[in-house]
């Protein structure tokens, strides 16, 4: 979670009737960097997802990640039920869910690899191939669509210089369309890695891209 004082174009701080800072709306005292070891087991499955620094060869699971994995396992009556959180944890570490990752997770949970493949490919959020440092997901579903989501998407593609679904040459950005992100009152909603950017208009896009590039270069 970045602590660079970047002004998100919208969060009601400047569109609504509430005088709030972005941190207050986001709940910065709650939403910080979650402890890797998972803190209390009841919330161990919540994860940052797609850390900027991914290691496709990382071990599954070692150290604090192993701790978190064990905590997750303890919350379900069957090992199989931990499959979705386990795949998410694997993706957090490795950046995407490859066949080797599916095989390893299957091994950890005593499941057949083919079964894990069937489950992993059902869900949209498991990346089957590596993606850029920042996965830019632009909602183009109806509420955002009515308020110009197509233009926002076009702006992102233009300023990252990529095709839809492809990764930019510098490896920083992959831009995709997303289905409704449940922020319809703040069109257009864009999710970049774990973070929601709301009330994004085409004019806001260059600023967002510059900020992210600077973050990437600064090694955040």
């Amino acid at each position: 979670m970045s602590d660079t004082p970047f002004k998100n174009p919208g969060w009601a701080g400047n569109t609504g009737e509430f005088e709030l800072s972005e941190d207050q709306v986001r709940g910065d005292d709650f939403v910080g960097v979650r402890p890797v070891g998972g803190s209390h087991p009841s919330g161990a499955a919540t994860y940052p997802y797609m850390l900027p620094g991914k290691d496709p060869e990382a071990a599954l699971f070692e150290g604090e990640y192993r701790e978190r994995f064990e905590k997750i396992l303890s919350r379900y009556p069957t090992k199989q039920a931990a499959l979705l959180p386990a795949l998410g944890l694997a993706q957090e570490v490795r950046g995407h869910v490859s066949p080797q990752t599916m095989d390893r997770v299957a091994e950890l949970l005593d499941l057949a690899p083919a079964y894990v493949r069937g489950v992993a490919t059902f869900y949209t959020m498991y990346n089957k191939a590596p993606v850029g440092r920042y996965l830019v997901q632009v909602c183009t579903n109806i509420s955002c669509n009515l308020c110009g989501a197509d233009d926002v998407l076009a702006a992102f593609l233009r300023y990252t210089d990529t095709e839809l679904g492809e990764t930019s040459e510098d490896g920083n950005f992959t831009v995709v369309e997303a289905e409704c992100l449940a922020a319809c009152g703040f069109p257009t909603c864009v999710q970049i890695n774990s973070r929601y950017f709301e009330n994004v208009g085409p004019a806001d896009v260059p600023g967002i891209i510059e900020h992210l590039k600077a973050e990437a270069a600064g090694g955040a």
Partner: protein
């Protein structure tokens, strides 16, 4: 008050803490009377709690509108197996954004509701199934839950009552169909999130094969208030058959989109003109989808007399669903928006049932062709016939939901389709 705009027509029950960043802290919540409802529930006893919720007439706020107290009463009174409460926080219906606000502003209200509900249905474990995209939201909930555990409001021997209830935040991975109750249960079990055939019903065979109840976030958030003030109190708002307040998610071409908590039965025209500050840019109203993309579209005429409760919207020709009001002005390209909605259903279909798997894809292709000016008039007959074949023939209602906008738009906005088909003319920009 709802967020990000406030209206004096609102009734502030569930949304009273929206916009207050202190409210999500446990100490603030307790200071303001939090977890007293839970204590009272333990004193009342399980069956009395169910009765109180039945009296209130609270109906499921996830879209189906099934009476919550009745749903709870389906659970066995003498458990021979573990019971589970599943909180449905997989908010993915296009146009809906109330659950996210409820969790991020008032997580303890939801947790208290979950604990009371779990107690009432004799469950010892609650799974809050949150959609995977809700990273920030789930972290707020997880932190709130951690604080609750630390102070003895969750886990073993809650507040010294001898009642044990565990809560786990479970995270999904991007599938709208996991918001369907049996799809949710399958996803929780670590399977593909495909809906199950009913019967057997969740109260008999649910999560992990055990009796389970699935409730929406908004429904559970209302429970502490009903327990505190009584079921009859809840009926002071709304109508006989649709009592209480509802969070209306208004999006689209209004001046002040956002969540508003209003009594059920509130007139749709007042919502748009008064509460939301009228149409954006003073444009004329063209169409409204009153309950999220799964319900039929209403044209401006039908909106005129529409009361926003379950019966009222049905009388106007649509359904209230989850009360996500999507407002479209005169510049809207209806065909494009219908295509986008059907494309959403195609993307989200689980693929089990043939009419849905093949039908949503076929419909999207036909609509795209019409949108690009390459449609023919018998395409419209084909679409209507397809809709008939997709309604009532599948395991879940995603297929029916895909057909609803198609049927209603062809019935009410046929001229737009015909303009594209006959002259390649498109109406509107958005």
């Amino acid at each position: 008050m709802a967020y990000p705009y406030v209206s004096d027509r609102e009734v502030r029950v569930l949304s009273r803490n929206f916009g207050d960043p202190m409210a999500r802290r446990l100490d603030t919540y307790v200071e303001r009377g939090g977890y007293q409802a839970l204590k009272k529930a333990f004193e009342m006893g399980q069956d009395k709690v169910i009765d109180e919720v039945k009296t209130s007439g609270l109906r499921g706020r996830g879209g189906a509108g099934f009476p919550t107290g009745v749903k709870w009463s389906f659970m066995p009174k003498e458990p021979t197996k573990p019971h589970y409460l599943l909180c449905n926080a997989d908010e993915s219906e296009p146009g809906t954004f109330k659950d996210r606000e409820l969790i991020r502003w008032d997580p303890h209200q939801l947790l208290e509701g979950c604990l009371i509900a779990a107690y009432a249905i004799r469950a010892k474990h609650v799974y809050v199934y949150c959609r995977g995209e809700f990273f920030e939201t789930t972290q707020i909930l997880a932190k709130a839950l951690e604080d609750a555990y630390a102070k003895g409001y969750a886990g073993k021997d809650i507040m010294g009552s001898g009642v044990d209830i565990d809560v786990t935040v479970h995270v999904g991975a991007g599938a709208y169909i996991c918001g369907e109750e049996t799809g949710l249960m399958n996803s929780l079990e670590g399977r593909r999130g495909q809906p199950r055939v009913k019967p057997p019903f969740p109260a008999a065979v649910g999560a992990f094969g055990m009796p389970s109840t699935v409730n929406n976030v908004e429904t559970l958030s209302a429970v502490p208030h009903i327990v505190t003030h009584g079921g009859q109190w809840y009926r002071q708002w709304g109508t006989e058959k649709s009592p209480g307040t509802k969070l209306f998610c208004v999006s689209g071409h209004v001046s002040k989109p956002g969540n508003y908590e209003l009594p059920l039965g509130f007139p749709l025209t007042d919502l748009i003109e008064d509460v939301c500050g009228g149409m954006r840019g003073g444009k004329a109203l063209k169409a409204v989808i009153p309950g999220g993309s799964s319900v039929p579209i209403l044209n401006a005429e039908e909106c005129a007399d529409c009361a926003l409760d379950y019966e009222g919207v049905q009388a106007a020709g649509s359904q209230l669903g989850c009360a996500s009001v999507i407002v479209m002005d005169e510049g809207t390209d209806i065909v494009k928006q219908v295509r986008r909605m059907v494309q959403f259903y195609m993307h989200e279909s689980c693929g089990q049932c043939t009419p849905c798997r093949e039908g949503t894809a076929w419909m999207t292709k036909v609509l795209r062709r019409i949108e690009e000016g390459r449609g023919t008039e018998d395409d419209l007959d084909t679409l209507l016939q397809m809709s008939r074949q997709m309604t009532g023939t599948t395991i879940c209602v995603l297929s029916d939901s895909a057909a609803a906008p198609v049927v209603s738009s062809i019935q009410k906005f046929k001229d737009e389709y015909l303009a594209l088909i006959r002259r390649g003319e498109r109406v509107g920009a958005a």
